[in-house]
Symmetry: C2
Amino acid sequence: MAVYTEVSDEALRAFLSDYELGELLAFRGIAEGVENSNYALKTARGDFILTLYEKRVDPAELPWFLGLMRHLVSRGLACPEPVPGRDGEALRVLAGRPAAICTFLPGIWPRRVRPAHCEPLGEALGALHLAGDGFSDARRNGLGPHAWGPLLDKCRRDAAPELVAELDASLAAILRGWPEAGALPVGHIHADLFPDNVFFLDDGRGQRVSGLIDFYFACTDLLAYDVAVCLNAWCFEPDRSFNVTKARALLRGYRAKRALSAEELAALPVLCRGAAMRFLLTRLYDWVNTPAGAMVTRKDPMEYLHKLRFFQHAEDPGAIGG
Amino acid sequence: MAVYTEVSDEALRAFLSDYELGELLAFRGIAEGVENSNYALKTARGDFILTLYEKRVDPAELPWFLGLMRHLVSRGLACPEPVPGRDGEALRVLAGRPAAICTFLPGIWPRRVRPAHCEPLGEALGALHLAGDGFSDARRNGLGPHAWGPLLDKCRRDAAPELVAELDASLAAILRGWPEAGALPVGHIHADLFPDNVFFLDDGRGQRVSGLIDFYFACTDLLAYDVAVCLNAWCFEPDRSFNVTKARALLRGYRAKRALSAEELAALPVLCRGAAMRFLLTRLYDWVNTPAGAMVTRKDPMEYLHKLRFFQHAEDPGAIGG
C-alpha cells in the first residue's frame, strides 16, 4: 500500500495555493511504492505526483534527494523533477509531513522482466551514473557494508540459528573481499533500482526506458555496486534461476554508456553478494520486526538467501554476465 | 488496497490491442476502492480507469452494471462510461478476470464532508434517480431487507451475545415497519453512495459534483432508500453526532431535482434504520470472517451500531432533516 497519510481536501487546496499549478482536477492515491504516500495529482497544468514522506525517510535528507533529482533532470535524465512553490521551495509540509510535488513520468514498470528490458535498463543505469557527475554533495549509503553487521545483530534473537550462522559466515567473507576505499570509482547511485522503479514505453521498435523513479535510497557509493543491485533485482527468474542472458544484456547496455574497468568487473561477484546481503538483511529485519497482523506486505527474505548463495558460487564475473 | 490482481505488461498490451485507444502511456494501480482492482490508464486518447472485477462481483451481473452506466451517461449523468473494444464489447477478460475500461472522471472525493458538499450531493442523487428512468432491466438488491436476517445468522456464533440480541430486536422492528411493496416509488439506485464514490470540483463558486462512481452495488429498489443510505454516509460527524444541517442540505438538493412524496418522507426514519442495519451487518460479517492477519482493512461495524441507535430514536422525519 502506498497511502499512509490521508490528505483532506481543504489541506490539499491550501497546499496547492502555494503553487502555480492552476485548477485542481483530480487527486487519487497510488497503490505503488512502499515507503511513502503517493498521489496522482492532475491540475490545469498537467499530471504530477504528490509524495508525502513517511517515517522511514529522514526529513533532513530530503533536500539532498530533491537536489540530486533536479541535477539529474538538468543533465537530461528522465527522472521526477521537483516542482517548486511560488517561493522557489519544492520541499513543503502537508498533513504534518514533509511533502513535494514532482513531474509525472509516462511509462509502465515491467511486472515480468524480459531480456528485452535489460539492455535499456543497463543503458539507463549507465546514463544515471554519468548524469550524477557534478552534483557535489555526497550522501553516505546508510545501508552499505558498515550497516550489515548491526542489522544482522538486530535479527539474531528472532531468526533461525542456522540462518544466523550462515549469514555470519557469508557476511565475514563479503566484508573481507569488499573493495578497499578508493579502489573503485564512486559516484551517486540509485541503490534500489528494482523493476517497479523503472518505467518503460514500447515505441513499436522495442522497449525504451521512459523514467527512473524513487530516489530515496540514493547515495554516494561504488558505481559498480548499483550494477550489482540490478543484477540481483532484474536477472533472476521466478524459479530462482539466474538468467545470464538478462545479465549480459544489462551489462552490455551499461557499458554502452559507461565503461566498467577491469577492477570493477573483477569485484562484481563480491558486490553482488553484498547487494544480496543488503536486501536479505533489511527484509529479514522487517520480517522479524513486523507483527503478523500488521497491514504491511512483508517481502520474503528467503528470496535473497537463494540469490546470495548463487553469487557465492559465482567466483568468475563471466558466470554473472561480465 | 485496491490492486488485488497484478497485470503483466504483455497481458495489458494484448488486452489494449482490442481497443482503439492509441499508444499506452502509463498504467498505475489506484489505492482506492475496496472491492475491485483499479488502474489509472493513460493512452494517446486520454485518461481511463481499468477495472478488474474481483470475487465479490458476480460476472453474470456485470452487463447490467455496465448497461446502467451507459444509460446514465446517455442521460447526461457524469458517471464512468464503459469503453467498448473494436468489437463493440466493453466487458472483456484480463489476467483471468472480467475487466472493463471506463472513462476517467475529474474531481476529488471529500476526505472530510462539509455542509457545502451535501446540497450538491443531494442534487446529484436526485439527478441519478431521474436519469435511471427508462433503463428497463431490473436488478434485485442483493443486500436488501430479505438479506439482513440471513446475514445476522451468519454472525450469530462469533458476535457478542448482547450485540446479537440488540440486532435481533432492531431488525424485527425494521422489518415490521418496512414499506409494503408498491407503497413507495422504485427505480435504479446506487445503494453505496459514500463520500469516496462522489467526486467534487470547486470552480471558485463552490463545490459541484463532477462524477459518481462505483455502481457495483446498484440495484432496483426504493428510491428513498438511496437517500437513507446517504443520510447514513454523509451526515454523521467523526464524534458520532448527527449533523442535521448536512441532512437538510442533502434533502434540499435532492428535492430540487426530484420531489419526495409525503409517504417517502414518512418512511425515511425506518429506511435510515434499514440502511444502518445493512452496513452494520456487512461490516460485522466481514469483521467476524476476516482473519486478523489478513491484508485487508476491516471497517468498524460499531460505527453503524451508533447510527442505527440514533435513527431508532428519530421517529419524526424532521429530526433527520426532512
